[in-house]
């Protein structure tokens, strides 16, 4: 069985791995690179907890064939902190109690970042739409929405 060599940027760092045919990006990130921040929730595109940014665009890593990201840039929650400091979204999530079990949080944060990167001052409806592919089964949507709006507000005023 031959492995497929694969190179891409992972949170600003070049990485090279060998994957089996059919390996998804989630498995590649978690088991070959060791970035455990994207989670497995459904493998079907239903829950969003494996969300990552590929060249700045929100994708589901569990439905992404690993070899299709060759040469591209992947961002995960592991790369969100700014040095020792939390990203404004992370700070807002913590301040607004926007995580309970924490399992949807990596995907929620990536979906939120994807929104704010393109639309720094979204409306509440735009926030709801932006996280509509992410399920929080602890049903903490209100604090999550408030946290994203607060992060956007903080950023706008900064």
């Amino acid at each position: 069985m031959s492995k497929i060599p694969l190179q891409f940027r992972h949170n600003g760092r070049d990485v090279a791995i060998f994957v089996d045919g059919g390996t998804n990006l989630l498995v590649a990130l978690r088991e070959l690179i060791g970035d455990m921040t994207p989670k497995f929730g459904c493998g079907q595109g239903g829950c969003g907890t494996c969300s990552v940014l590929i060249d700045g665009e929100l994708h589901l890593s569990c439905l992404t064939l690993a070899e299709t990201v060759a040469g591209r840039s992947i961002e995960t929650l592991d790369g969100m902190k700014q040095g020792l400091n939390l990203h404004p979204l992370q700070r807002a999530f913590a301040d607004h109690f926007a995580a309970q079990c924490g399992y949807c949080t990596p995907g929620m944060l990536m979906a939120a970042k994807s929104l704010l990167d393109r639309n720094p001052s979204p409306s509440r409806d735009e926030v709801v739409e932006a996280i509509s592919g992410n399920i929080c089964r602890c049903t903490g949507y209100e604090p999550i929405i408030n946290a994203i709006l607060a992060a956007a507000g903080g950023r706008a005023s900064a």
Binding site: G21, N24, G45, E57, L58, L63, L65, S132
Partner: protein, 272 residues
């Protein structure tokens, strides 16, 4: 045994690889094939991809619109000239799924998915597939009826005529979760009006049969008449004719039959 991934630079090579291997499946956006692999579908052992620019082309300037099979829903939404397809594109998944899922893949999406295809069916779209001797056009209804046998076929593009007016084309997806959720039922209607009369009515339904289907009895109830309370009521009461919905976790067959007429009436009369 790991899965073998074959990547080609041209669609025709990919089509050749697909037709020569019955166990091979075409990989578009990944939302169907990767899902099957993740759930342990061992029937898929070969995956075929094509990195052909033609598959991601959008031609939307004229009256005839052509979407490459690899065009994602996010790109449909980004295209101002495709405004009439924005509602169906937006009704699919969350942003990540729309960044991945493709127009071509949606033709194969089983219930409760495949909403974009409902819209295309109401627009009398044509599906262009790669054949042994170049491309071949198939009316979308015919394509869907034979969908089970199309797994070895490579879809190149889908084309349709732009609706005559904004009001002539209507779309509604009924889901239990807002703003995102699988379809309980999906409806699309194209009701072009010429001289006060409907000419060429098309009503398409999702989740009302194993594949997306046209509600022909409802279409007949509208054809040649003006779009008014009486014709809408007639179409609504004929909406279940020829349907064969199934029970699933989102709704029962009984419920689907109960609501399809109600939502068709609302769709045609412009109610929320």
């Amino acid at each position: 045994m790991a899965v073998t991934v074959k990547t080609f630079t041209s669609a025709s090579e990919a089509a050749g690889a697909l037709s020569s291997d019955r166990s091979a499946r075409y990989f578009g956006g990944g939302t169907l094939i990767m899902r099957a692999l993740n759930e342990g579908d061992v029937a898929i052992s070969t995956v075929v991809r094509a990195q052909d620019q033609a598959l991601t082309r959008i031609e939307a300037s004229g009256p005839r619109v052509t979407l490459g099979a690899g065009v994602t829903f996010a790109r449909v939404l980004a295209e101002r000239d495709l405004g009439f397809l924005h509602a169906p594109a937006r009704s699919i998944g969350g942003p990540a799924v729309r960044n991945m899922g493709t127009v071509g893949g949606n033709l194969f999406a089983p219930n409760p998915y495949g909403d974009f295809t409902v819209a295309l069916l109401a627009l009398d779209a044509t599906v262009t597939v790669a054949g042994g001797f170049g491309a071949r056009d198939i009316p979308i209804e015919e394509f869907l009826q034979a969908r089970e046998r199309q797994t070895g076929t490579l879809v190149l593009s889908v084309s349709c005529t732009r609706p005559a007016s904004t009001e002539a084309f209507r779309y509604r997806k009924i889901a239990r979760i807002k703003p995102k959720g699988g379809s309980v039922i999906t409806l699309a209607a194209h009701v072009p009006i010429s001289g006060g009369r409907i000419a060429g009515a098309r009503i398409a339904l999702g989740s009302m049969a194993p594949t997306q289907i046209r509600a022909r009895a409802a279409e007949r109830a509208l054809e040649g008449r003006s779009l008014d309370t009486a014709s809408i009521a007639a179409a609504a009461s004929a909406a279940t004719e020829g349907t064969s919905p199934a029970d699933n976790a989102l709704g029962s067959a009984w419920y689907r039959r109960e609501i399809v007429g109600v939502y068709l009436r609302r769709l045609l009369s412009g109610q929320e």
